[in-house]
């Protein structure tokens, strides 16, 4: 196998372990992301690890591409610390408010400026949007094939990857021609932890920051302007359940609960 140049798309997201701390700005109807620390989307770390393993085995380059607000630079730097060769961040107010179509369009323009890539790896979904829509959409903008939910990737012949993808109660085996986008699940590997020297060195390295003009983006196709879907309303749903709370000694409440369920006829 020849060397493989891999692009890894990453996104900075609110730390999933602390998501419940997110508060809503009731006036602007947006979330206050500042309340929660930001990390590399966990599945994107698995994608990056896979890219680094491929480079370790076959040679090549790993280039990380991301889109986000200025603090997303930290996520790019963490990717460099893990071992990525280069990091590019699309950052500009005009990119903000993008849905997945608009995000994929923007990322595709950035990627088109990177020469000679053989594959693109992404996490299968993010912990904040959770749609998993960007990898297939990015693939279509780039006119390359895609495979989602990959738990294993092998290279069986030149310009082809054999991918095992998980499905409900089973898996599929897909052969995909390269270049392709492969979106990975957490079963694929265990991400490495950046070394101290990696972290120190990453501080010195450049994260390239690109604006819409750097990728020749059409204004009306990026950010909120380029998003066909929009949130028009938010509300707290009415639930309307009885909500009887049993209090007391554990032995008592346990007895009470089981009795209540017998009364209700559900056990």
């Amino acid at each position: 196998m020849n060397s493989l140049n891999v692009i890894v798309c990453i996104k900075q997201v609110p730390d999933p372990q602390q998501l419940s701390k997110i508060t809503l700005d009731p006036i602007r109807k947006t979330i206050r992301r500042e309340d929660v620390p930001a990390v590399i989307n966990p599945l994107d770390k698995h994608a990056l690890e896979e890219g680094l393993r491929i480079r370790d085995e076959y040679g090549g380059r790993v280039t990380v591409v991301s889109m986000g607000p200025p603090q997303a630079e930290l996520a790019c730097r963490e990717a460099l610390a893990m071992g990525a060769d280069e990091a590019i961040l699309l950052c500009d107010r005009a990119f903000a408010g993008a849905d997945t179509l608009s995000t994929s369009y923007s990322l595709s323009l950035a990627i088109k400026r990177i020469e000679g890539f053989n594959m693109i790896l992404c996490g299968n979904e993010t912990v904040d949007g959770s749609t998993g829509q960007v990898p297939p959409q990015l693939a279509d903008f780039l006119n390359i094939p895609h495979v989602t939910r990959a738990r294993r990737i092998e290279f069986t012949k030149e310009k082809t990857a054999r991918v095992e993808r998980s499905i409900e109660y089973g898996y599929m085996v897909v052969e995909v021609t390269l270049p392709a986008i492969i979106a990975v699940t957490k079963e694929i590997n265990v991400p490495r932890i950046p070394t101290v020297s990696g972290i120190l060195e990453a501080h010195q390295r450049e994260v390239k920051v690109w604006a819409p003009k750097d990728i020749e983006a059409e204004e009306e196709r990026i950010g909120l302007a380029g998003s066909p879907t929009q949130v028009v309303d938010i509300f707290s749903p009415e639930i309307g359940r009885k909500g009887e709370i049993l209090r007391g000694e554990p032995e008592e409440v346990a007895k009470l609960l089981v009795q209540r369920l017998h009364e209700l006829g559900v056990i």
Binding site: S20, I22, T23, T100, L101, S104, E125, S130, T131, G132, Q133, P136, Q137, A139, D140, I144, P145, H146, V147, T148, S166, I167, E168, Y169, G170, M172, V173, V174, E175, V176, A180, P228, T229, Q230, V231, V232, D233, I234, F235, S236, P237, I239, R241, K242, G243, E244, I245, L246, R247, P250, V253, A254, K255, L257, V258, R260, L261, L264, V266, I267
Partner: protein, 331 residues
């Protein structure tokens, strides 16, 4: 022109010659939307030798079936399915296209949305038609604190993916009539850049959530008692299926098929018991149609108590042993 787009379409997914339940559920939800709009309900069906399934789709409520039958399309092939679906939509211009949020649906729908240059929302829990004939796509948002309503005002079709269990399977009516349109396609293996060569099914290791009468679910709070053993013990006592939240999945206590919530399963058991579950909306949207909801949590402010019929505020370490004993005693 937006007004030209009429009709509600669904992607009918089949695997190994069997229609997935979610496809029939989409016909249930789709029928309500079609009736409100005064339009036809149609389904796209790919496969090989699946005309029997086309008749099934009509019995479950479809007015038209677009049937693409080809030996190379027996399994899901993303390039071919995406291209054919796009061509059909461009030809017939439906205003709404629903896709089941399965491993295949979630792979296919986004690509089609780009080809159609239209919006796609994911994991809706409710769909409504507003006074402008627009599709209101409702899902939990913003960290699960509220419900968000999404619309796609300027592009058609309005596309959305719907998790299994969100809609109900409609009644089967053998006497229903519909049109089956056979769509001819010309494909060779070379056209399939991502080619499915094998599909392997694995039997679920534990009683599945689908159709369970009783569900015992656990969340992050089970950490306090060292994991999921008590959840499984209680499930066994009650003949229940085991479920959990995303944190439970991340901990490895359950598998993906056991996760309940917006991007997991929707369950409608007689009885749901949530142990150590805080009750964020991402999870609770998956349980709201349960007959009786019970929760045990040590935090009286946990949102789960807003949706529970009966709750115990207490330490799992103290409460669980007594609960297990009491269920055992009275069975």
């Amino acid at each position: 022109m937006i007004e030209e787009f009429k009709g509600v379409w669904i992607f009918a997914e089949q695997r190994k010659g069997k229609l997935l339940d979610v496809s029939l559920e989409l016909l249930g939800g789709g029928r309500e939307l079609a009736n409100k709009l005064g339009v036809d309900l149609s389904a796209i069906l790919f496969g090989h030798d699946v005309s029997k399934l086309a008749k099934e789709l009509i019995a479950y409520g479809a007015d038209n079936i677009y049937l693409i039958s080809h030996p190379l399309l027996e399994f899901y092939q993303s390039d071919a399915y995406a291209k054919v679906m796009t061509d059909l939509v461009n030809q017939h211009k439906p205003e709404i296209l629903l896709v089941g949020a399965t491993a295949i649906g979630m792979d296919l729908a986004p690509r089609v949305a780009v080809k159609l240059e239209t919006g796609l929302s994911a994991h809706v829990v409710k769909l409504e038609i507003d006074e402008k004939r627009q599709l209101r796509q409702i899902m939990p948002g913003f960290g699960g604190k509220v419900m968000a309503v999404v619309v796609c005002p300027n592009r058609r079709p309005q596309m959305t993916t719907v998790r299994p269990g969100v809609f109900r399977k409609p009644a089967r009516d053998e006497s229903r009539r519909g049109d089956i349109v056979k769509v001819e396609v010309d494909i060779t293996e070379d056209d399939l850049r991502a080619r499915t060569i094998r599909m392997v099914e694995e039997k679920p290791r534990e009683k599945p959530l689908e159709g369970a009468e009783i569900v015992v679910a656990g969340g992050w709070g089970m950490r306090a008692v060292g994991g999921f053993k008590p959840v499984r013990e209680l499930a066994e006592l009650l003949g229940a299926s085991v479920g959990g939240t995303r944190p439970a999945l991340d901990e490895g206590w359950i598998v993906e098929e056991q996760m309940i919530g917006q991007s997991g399963k929707t369950v409608r058991p007689k009885l749901y018991i949530g142990l150590g579950i805080s009750g964020e909306m991402h999870h609770t949207v998956g349980i709201l149609d349960s007959e009786v909801i019970v929760a045990v949590n040590n935090d009286e402010n946990a949102p789960i108590f807003q949706v529970a019929d009966v709750g115990i505020v207490g330490d799992l370490r103290d409460v669980l042993p007594h609960l297990l004993k009491e269920f055992e005693r009275t069975r």
